[in-house]
Symmetry: C2
């Protein structure tokens, strides 16, 4: 019985997050109320509050979910076989593509990102550290295969991610889309050059 | 007589811009009115409007002035003698330092930057292109001296500037100051590595 009820509770939590994400996308984070989310789920706001103490807590969980998908995909690319440089390019391109899909353009999730960046930096910093960690693992593989040279892996990963800011950071993706600059492939070439061995 | 009156007119223009910049710094762009600027100069608002058709025109001229100082200093570094890598580092560090002094911190000029970025992208894009041009000249000197390798100078300059976004872009300087990341010297090392010849 305990297991079943835990299962149902987890299920309800997931459903709240799904509906919240959909409403945030559709009408924006600010305009969505806990009441809207409850109504959509045909439950009482009080029931939503049993799972999340505030709209902010829902926001955090939705943000974690969205960022978690990017992290999972990044980890999948690092774990699969193949030449490092190709997978390195795939990794950086995937982070760019997924961040663009999630936070830029017509959908209103960019509002959520702005709020996360103002109020909830810990969630963002954890995500950036996770992505930098995965990039570091990939660079380590490149060092092992002789494709890369990096005396300090963590620093190399931080520099590679910082160099990609125009393509990773949601606000920069949106702001730079129509501004002069390198393509993402050109930028990745530049980062790979910075990591390549000099004999 | 014509020369004298032109001189006086130019002088008045300069004085309006000086006062406007001081007020923008002190009380912010939004809160400063053309009336405030006129009062400070002991002239009528109508006289200010003889020189600038709107507050926006004053804003543009102040922004151009601030950016022009950075451009001038960058050009000075490119023109002086000495090893390229040292001057390249000095160039990137100077752009970072001057942008930080101008737009970040206690003074309220960051409000002006935000408005320029929303409404007045041409001014910002021109400035970015000018800085990329100077960075390109420096890379060309490095190619000539054998310190750098760059088959496409313009692309190399764009990539170098893009890689430095965390340290060049006023909003990113402000946002990243307390976030994990490389130091500017570490980032410049990474950019130099990307430009260094591979034999």
């Amino acid at each position: 019985m305990a297991l079943i009820s835990e299962h149902i509770e987890g299920d309800t939590r997931e459903r709240i997050l799904e509906v919240a994400e959909r409403l945030f996308r559709l009408i924006g984070y600010q305009k969505t109320t806990v009441g809207d989310i409850a109504k959509e789920l045909r439950m009482s706001p009080a029931n939503v509050y049993r799972f999340f103490e505030s709209k902010k807590a829902i926001h955090q969980a939705v943000a974690r979910g969205l960022m978690g998908e990017v992290e999972l995909e990044a980890q999948r690319i690092v774990a699969k076989p193949g030449p490092v440089k190709e997978r390195f390019r795939e990794l950086l391109t995937t982070v760019h593509r997924m961040n663009t899909e999630r936070y830029v353009g017509d959908n209103k999730l960019h509002e959520m990102v702005e709020i996360a960046m103002q109020e909830d930096w810990a969630v963002c910093v954890n995500h950036m550290e996770c992505i930098a960690g995965v990039v570091g693992q990939m660079i380590a593989q490149g060092v092992a295969s002789g494709e890369f040279e990096a005396p300090d892996l963590q620093l190399a990963a931080l520099c590679a991610c910082t160099a990609m800011m125009r393509f990773f950071h949601p606000q920069m993706i949106a702001q730079c889309a129509t501004k002069p600059g390198p393509t993402i492939d050109q930028m990745i070439d530049f980062v790979i050059a910075g990591l390549s061995p000099r004999h």
